[in-house]
């Protein structure tokens, strides 16, 4: 490892070191998820996979005993019992009579897998997590291990208007190959960003839209005045002015309009403003963080004023359960943090009041999705199981980690249930997905067998502390630069 020593004090040097030590772990270690199974799909023909399992939980009707799932070209083409469904002669067969097939969990909102949660900029709608997702981040590997098949990666909560997020699957060497939905939504926060008061936060959030409106008004005025400043700016930035973008269109917004907006070709709108324009037009979903029940009020007001309530999902701190009636009235869906029990002390009696938050939303009839942002002990199976313990029906608890987030992300046709036409994602559990003793044995993503627990080097270490021979990374010399002992944790 002598070639690395000259880089030892730089950030890139460390990344290189880390990559080098991964590579030395064996030929299979090429990416976060790639360390388990090298897919064998070199042939040009449409890949076909048949998965036979002792039980298939479809989440689209009753579970099927001795079921089978056929995936062709990355899409599910048939789900049924083994007696009814014919296996194509050229399909690769995964036969696991002792296991339970499951559509996989859908992570509704997560700020992991990226290098940094938030920029210091207050209003940065032009940023995109595409540029910060790290395909070899441990998070994706860990998500796969917990049966999560797609995740909505959004920027963090410490913001006013953060960048755009995207839905990815936890497998692939590049962001492009992981991509499921590129423009999944934009992250905003109604809760005070660090250093802001509640009032300045609310003002900054409102201000972002007021700035947009003023910017568009000025653009129209310049156009009317015959000033081609915007065209020159657009050309200078090299933006495309051909096709649709070259035509002006009236502003399609519920809440406010800009008179004369049709004069402006779309390509002339500054890309710093364009994402918020898409929010106004209802083309870009919004994920709004609320750190307290009071923030819910701010969030709903801003959304209502700017006409994007229908496209907004609230990302809630557990204290926000107190705003459940207001949320119900507004008709928005919510994403809950992974600490499901809210605790507070009665200020007079000193008694602790514990509230199980999903139950409040379930009882109020608000669609809620679970999320798991912290560690793998609290992953989505655990969250859903806790809901069952608290008396939420099993179907609703499972939906909160599958079909509800799928619907929030606009992916109902693709993920969250095993049905014909859905993406070819199947998770094989050793038993019931919500049982504490069940583990994820295999994951098939888009018809490709990407995870096999028996070949998962790290799960073996987590389970019994041992690493199989030949997989132990050679400890690079002079690695202990950051004072943290993470060399064993790789």
């Amino acid at each position: 490892m002598s070639f690395t020593t000259s880089f030892q004090n730089t950030r890139s040097g460390r990344a290189l070191l880390s990559a080098a030590s991964r590579l030395s772990m064996g030929a299979t270690v090429l990416g976060a998820a790639a360390l388990f199974v090298a897919p064998v799909h070199a042939s040009a023909q449409v890949a076909k996979t048949a998965i036979k399992a002792g039980k298939v939980i479809t989440l689209n009707g009753e579970p099927i005993e001795n079921g089978i799932i056929i995936i062709e070209g990355g899409r599910v083409t048939a789900v049924g019992s083994q007696e009814d469904v014919q296996i194509p002669w050229d399909a690769e067969v995964v036969d696991q009579p002792g296991m339970t097939a499951f559509p996989g969990f859908v992570e509704s909102h997560v700020s992991r897998g990226i290098d940094r949660e938030n920029e210091t900029l207050d209003v940065a709608p032009f940023l995109n997590v595409r540029d910060s997702i790290d395909p070899v981040n441990f998070y994706f590997e860990d998500a796969l291990r917990n049966g999560i098949v797609v995740m909505n990666v959004q920027q963090g909560n410490d913001t006013v208007v953060a960048g755009q997020g995207m839905v990815v699957k936890p497998y692939g060497m590049t962001v492009e190959s992981m991509m499921v939905k590129p423009r999944a939504g934009i992250k905003m926060s109604a809760a005070p960003k660090r250093g802001k008061s509640r009032a300045t936060q609310a003002q900054a959030l409102r201000g972002a839209f007021e700035d947009l409106k003023r910017y568009l008004d000025e653009m129209v005025q310049r156009k009317k005045d015959g000033d081609d400043y915007d065209r020159r700016e657009a050309l200078y930035q090299g933006r495309e002015l051909e096709g649709e973008a070259a035509k002006g269109k009236a502003l399609q917004s519920e809440a406010w309009t800009i008179e004369g907006f049709e004069r402006i070709p779309r390509g002339e709108v500054d890309e710093k403003q364009e994402p918020l324009l898409h929010v106004i037009e209802g083309k870009m979903p919004v994920f709004m963080w609320c750190g307290s029940a009071a923030d819910v009020h701010t969030a709903l007001r801003v959304a209502d004023t700017n006409g994007f309530t229908k496209h907004m999902t609230l990302v809630l701190d557990n204290s926000c359960w107190k705003a459940a009636p207001k949320i119900k009235a507004a008709g928005v869906s919510v994403i809950l943090e992974d600490n499901l029990a809210h605790r507070e002390r009665d200020p007079i009696t000193g008694e602790e009041i514990e509230t199980f938050v999903p139950k409040v939303f379930h009882d109020a009839g608000v669609p809620f999705a679970l999320s798991s942002s912290t560690d793998s002990n609290r992953s989505l199976w655990f969250q859903a199981a806790q809901c069952v313990a608290a008396g939420i029906p099993r179907e609703a608890a499972l939906a909160a980690a599958t079909s509800v987030p799928a619907s929030i992300l606009g992916l109902s046709d693709r993920v969250g249930a095993l049905k014909s036409g859905a993406d070819g994602h199947v998770v094989l559990f050793s038993g019931d997905p919500l049982s504490v003793t069940s583990v994820v044995e295999h994951v098939i993503l888009d018809g490709v067998h990407v995870y096999d627990r028996s070949k998962d080097v790290r799960v073996q270490q987590l389970t019994d502390g041992t690493r199989p021979p030949g997989t132990v990374a050679e400890e690079p010399e002079e690695y202990e630069g950051d004072g943290e002992d993470d060399s064993d944790n790789q």
Binding site: D142, A293, A294, W321, K322, A323, A324, P325, K326, R343, R345, T349, G350, E351, E352, I353, E354, T355, F356, K359, V360, D363, T374, D375, S376, N377, R378, W381, F382, A385, Q386, V388, A389, A390, G391, R394, L434, S435, V436, T437, V439, Q461, L462, T463, D464, G465, D485, D488, N489
Partner: protein, 433 residues
Amino acid sequence: MISILTTLLLAPALQGPALLASSALFEHPSEAPLQAPLQATTRKGSQAAKADGDAPKNSWSVFADKVYTSTGSTLENALVVITDGKISAITPGASANDDSLKATTLTAGLIDASAPIHLGFESVEQSSEVTPSISMEYGVDPFDPRWERLVRSGVTTAFVPPLNRNVVGGLGILLKTAGPETLEGRALEGAEILCGAIGGLPSSGNRPASGTPNTFYNRRPTTRMGVEWEWRKALFDAAQAPAEGAGKDVDILQDVLAGKIAAFIQAYPTQDIRTAVFLKEEMQREGFGEIRLVIDGAAEAWREPDLLVRSGAAVVLPPMPGQGRTVDQAFMAANTAKVLQDAGVPFALSANDARTEPLGIQAGFAMRGGLTREQALRAVTITPAQILGVDSRVGTLEVGKDADIVLWNGEPFEVTTRAIGVLVDGVLVVDPR
């Protein structure tokens, strides 16, 4: 704002089983009072206020489809009868009475063998690193809401050790998690246990007294080696001190060497576990006595189970971390409990004051790591009772034992299961109805 207020008022209605812990129902004559004055009990002046209240109902019958007794047997359709706070009959194949409490399964009340429920750093005596005669009696608040959290999760007995920032922190205290709001009313007469720590934590925050102005951080030890040295010095000094008149601290350490008081030593990584075992063996070699060793927080116990077998130590495992790492940079494998089970090391699980997942879930994680339900159950009931010397009173469902019972709505330790009811000394503290 209005909606917030109204939902606040609705809050109790939205909860699960009502928790009765702080109601006036709890007054019953306290057991043999401890000799020391107990400051915490007078904080709310509740004793005087409730002096002539009614005694709480402590006779019930509980029916469940399945009763896990912790003695190795599982009874189907069993009726457990409780009379005056004790279990008076257990009848399998019975049917429920009209007024029976009902549950899917029953277990004995869970016992958390390491629940540091006290004021945290405010409970660390800074004047010395070796404070054997300090007792947690003076640092525990029965009004701390974490007690209610423990009860709600099914824990009925908890051992409270001092925080791990002193080398020899003092005597721990064993309490029921509910009952009279006085320490003497909740205390259990168990083994006397001296607690301390080995490793990086006692020295963390200490600074050598040079350069900077003097603060209480300027104290020894400042390294792992120094921590070990403090232990050895304390025990050597005690062994060489006269049997009488050398002071309370020395008396306690002499009792530790004589095996009358157990030594409950926190050690996470394997190097610290080794240190604890070698310390015990050194004292034995020197002829000072045989220490009864309990290793707390033994996250890396899986690395050298044979060493633990050789030492005869019992083990208390910390909560299962999400990515393997516990405090003090130890790595806890998921099958740690299973390794100890197979090696025959007595071990208990703990949830460490319920900041992470509660004890029942820790038992579930141990099952995920390879234990059977029965083995996991023992690790949170009878084994901690034995380690703490209270197995004659708690830890199993048997006639004559304290009626500490958890009512579950499914198979215990599954995440999909919850403690719907809890009885402590026959008093219903979490109501399943």
